[in-house]
Structure formats: structure tokens, C-alpha cells
Point group: C2
Chain length 352, copies 2
Amino acid sequence: MSLWEKNIRQVAPYVPGEQPNQPDMVKLNTNENPYPPAPRVAELAASFPADTLRLYPDPTCSTLVEALAKRYQVGADQVFVGVGSDDVLATAFMTFFNGTEPIVFPDITYSFYDVWADLFRIPYRKLALDDAFHINPRDYDAPNGGVIFPNPNAPTGIQEKKEVLEDILQHNQDVIVIIDEAYIDFAEETSALQLLGKYENLLVVQTFSKSRSMAGMRIGFAIGSSKLIKAMQDVKYSYNSYTMNAASLYMGAAAVEDEAYFQETVEKIRQTREEAKMRLAELGFTFPDSQTNFLFAAPSRIDAKELFEQLRARNIYVRYFNQPRTCDYLRITIGTPEEMERLYQAIAEIQR
Amino acid sequence: MSLWEKNIRQVAPYVPGEQPNQPDMVKLNTNENPYPPAPRVAELAASFPADTLRLYPDPTCSTLVEALAKRYQVGADQVFVGVGSDDVLATAFMTFFNGTEPIVFPDITYSFYDVWADLFRIPYRKLALDDAFHINPRDYDAPNGGVIFPNPNAPTGIQEKKEVLEDILQHNQDVIVIIDEAYIDFAEETSALQLLGKYENLLVVQTFSKSRSMAGMRIGFAIGSSKLIKAMQDVKYSYNSYTMNAASLYMGAAAVEDEAYFQETVEKIRQTREEAKMRLAELGFTFPDSQTNFLFAAPSRIDAKELFEQLRARNIYVRYFNQPRTCDYLRITIGTPEEMERLYQAIAEIQR
């Protein structure tokens, strides 16, 4: 090893889900939306003034920030935008988790939390979900350096009720509490945004990658008190003043403004999900009650890994996590009704 | 102060240059390119398949990486791409500068270096340029935790000769040496890329924001040994797997592929720069010999700050740094010949 290698940061990098690109594939492995973005996004793309790309984008991202502030009825100084919710969450980790006490999050959760903690050398402790994959709020009463959890959770799809969130917030008023709502738009219970008025230390993070069909443009956002947002802006301006490109800013704002299309496509996905619950139950699967755009479903007639591989051989991609508490499950993204039909038929054939 | 505020990361955020948007303004303050991106970029924008935005982009960024590898005659495993060179440089700081010795860079240089060092808590030492704003390579002989400098330098515009670079590399083989070549395409001497074969610890960083007219799409890249690039990829995958959006990947690759347009516009800017040297000398300015798309020029007939403000009042924006060794200078981006003519006339009027 060369001497210069000794100061390289040691990380165990996150391995992103595979991004296959096969003709006629059914891609249900990364929780993408099966429907295109709002029609205005395509119009804006077609008329995009490429000449203006010679200029830096607006570092304050005001077009997009103001569209979000209007949609969510908060001040523009309460909105932070970034390159997908991963960028927003990573910035939040760097900004808020600088104590000596460990931060806490569930043992089964978004697999990036411990990766960021390792990257930024933040101590952390994982708190086990109960056997039904629910959070026990009592676990969150001990002193800690911060709290983060997704709601609805991934990959379980379970949403905790507002009382659980408030319980955790009540007992964690001296640290920052981040609720990662990547899947909230598909859920029954409303967003934790309604709690912002009561908790200045609450940060709610959402994304355009699922309900708004814009994973390809990389847009995420956080909403919180102006103090929290200011602290994140300061860190952002110390890292990269221009994270958001001009196209994402304009297209993102357009996507937010088309509320009718948003509601329509989200409702279609919810209906397909409820149908999927029935169909997969008939095929012998068990699963927690998903409030997201995916099902975390355990087959009973075949080994989960075996099914994963056999589906893959048929060009149907779902996600499999080879981990102790999750190895009996597949995470299946909700696609179009037609894609789901192909999935059910393939499972039926494989299980025959 | 609430208790939760105590763990917020303390930073002195970088203040980005103002981004005015006035009708009929002459914007020569942030070193943007006055010409539009390659024509194929506009074509791609117009035909961009917005439907595909529902999918995550390729996390390996292969379209863009391969276009760059071909253009610069290196392996695809030697290319890292990011959200502007700021993202690439910040990732490099996080990846490579983890020692206890201070990293070193010039006292007059890109103003983000100390901001990143502060953000990531990296010790650093600034080494004074000589009175003619040149690097003394002997200053770089002492033990350090890494070396970074821009070449050509900003805001001076000065390019150090290849012998100086080799001298510094010869004496710093146990640390990573980053040469930030944001302005290299406008320079006489060729890129440090030619030294990559000799120094596995050399990282060369470039950007699409200047010579390739794509500041608005946020694309930067680094080229180095596959070991360095792998280490940066690992950190990237620990931060945000999908930093590059689908549009930037395709448009960026198209911009790289149009070599003729690139050479033509770069040559136009070089010619305008040489003309500007004559015209500003006639107006009483002195300046180092710029090898970039800007001039770092000191007026002799008026105070620099006064001139900055008077130009601003006429809707002509240049950059002024109110710092000890740079407060007598303006940094003037090279615009179109027409924009420069407006600048010369305004200066003549103000000085009359």
C-alpha cells in the first residue's frame, strides 16, 4: 500500500439496487412510479431554453422552494431542497448530528441511515422493531444524539399513527427528530407536517422520486422551522452552492403545481396496491398493511430468495434483502395493473 | 438557545457570487461562458423523453463517464462525475484529506477550499503566493496532509508551468495532490492529465461550467488513477447514489462529443481575452497574464471598489473581493465582443 492511501476515508459503501434495462421487463424493484410525471413536465422539457444553461442556476432555488411553500402552506424559509431526499437527508445528518450521544433509528429501516452515520462518524444505536415491525416509542425515551425514522417505514410499508410520532417528539425535545416521509403520499394518515407548529426541532423530509414520478431529475426536500432550514442552508453553502440544476428547478415546480394529476396517479397506485393485497394473499403471501407504493410480502409456498430468482429469470425484478429479519420477504413495488397481472401470473406459474 | 441547537454544525458558509437577473445587464461576474452550449444539447433538451423521468438515473453515470473517458483517452474507471466541480472537489476533500497534518493550498485561491476544510474539520495551512501571485514550489516541500491548488489559479488567472507542477508532485508523493483545472481549456499550457501516468496520487478536476457552457446543468468531473476514483465512488455511494440526473447525463455526453464547437467557442473567448488585455491596458489597468476566461485587473485611475460600484449602477456586473491582497483588483469575466465593448465604454466614461 502506498503511503498516500493511509488517509483515504474508509467506508462500507451502500450498494444501490440494480437498475436493469431489459426490453419488456417488469421493473418493480426500486419503488419507482409506473406513471409519467405531470404533463407540464414534458412540455417544459420540450421548450427548455438550452441557451440559458450557460448560466449558473439560482442558488436559492426560489422557483421550486416557493412552489413547495405554497403547496404545503409554510414559509419559503421553512423549505430546503436537494438532489433527491438522499442529499437532503445526508445534509441533515451532517448539519444536526454532531453530538457525542448516539443517534437512534429502527433496526429495520432505510439502509442508508447507518451508511451516513458511518461516513460522518456519527455514533448510532439501532432500536429493534417489535415482532409486527412496529416502533415501541418507549425505546426512544433514553438520552440520544438525535432521532430518525421513516414513516411509513421501508421496507415494511408500515405507518405509525400520529400518537406514536407525538409520543416520540414529546420525549425528544432536546435533539433533532427527522421523520423521513418518502412514501407519505400513499398513506392513510396525514403527514407529520401538521406537527411542525408544535415542535421547532422536527424536520420532515419528502421526495419527488415516488409520488411525483421524478426519480430521474433528483429532487428531494425538507420542511421544518426556519432555524433548522437556515442551519441546513449554511451547510449546503459550505458544500456546493449550486446543487440543483436549472431543469430540475423548473420541472420540479411544474410537477408540484399540477395537484389534480398528482392526486389522480397516487389514487391509481393506492387502488392497485389494495388489489395487490388481495391477489398476493390468494397466492399465499403474508404482509404487513402497506401504506406505501410497495408491499413487503412473504411467500408461504416457496422460499423468498428462490422466488426472487425465478421472477428475475422471467424478466420481473423485485427487491430481496438477504438480512436476518427480512430474508423471508420480497419488496414489491406497485406497478401498473398490467405489470401486476404479469407478476401474479408468473408467481402462480412458479408456485404451480 | 434551545438544547437541540447545541449539536448543530457550526460553519461560516460560503457566500456565492450574486446572480442578478436584470434586463439588458452585462453579466461578467461569475465566469460563465457567453456562448450557448453545443447545438446538440438544445436538440436533446427538445426531444427529452420526459416519461423516463419516473425512473432513477443510471447510478454509474456510464453515458457521461464513457464520453469523458473517450475524449480524454483514459479508462472509464479513471473518471468520476459529480454535481459541478464543487461536488467533485467536496467529495475529494472528504475522501482524501483525513490525516492529522494540515493540507496546504495558496493564500489567494478559490475561496471554497478553506470552507470545505472547515466543514469537514480538516486542518489546513495557506501558503502565500509571491508578489507576482506565483506559487513557490519550495513552500510545498514540508510534511502535509494533502495538496490542492487551481491551475490556472483563480482569481489571478495565472497558470503555473508544467515544471512547477512536476516539482510539487515530486515532493508530495505520500499524499494526494489535487489540481483544480476549472479554467484549463482557456490556457496555453496543456492539462496536468498528461502527468497521470507518472503519479498515481494525482487527481485532476475539471468542470462543464466554463468552457462547455453548462453551468446550469451542474456537471464536474475528476480524472485520476483507478484507485483514487474507486475511493471517491465509495464515498459517493455512501452519500447519495444518484447525484447526476438523467438530463445532465445525456446533455453532458452530447456536449463532450461536439469537439469542433468546443474548440471554436473556446478560441473565440481566447481572442476576446487577448483583445481585452490591450483595451484594459489602454484604460490604465494592470493585470497578471490571464490564461482563463477572466481578467484579474487593477484600475490605476480609479479605486477598484468605486469602479465596481459604478459599473454595477450601469447594469454591468463584475466581481470584487474585499480582501487584503486582492482589494485593488476586479475579476472580469470575458463576455462576447459586444458585451466587452459596453464594458470598455462604461469604464472610459466613469474614468473621464
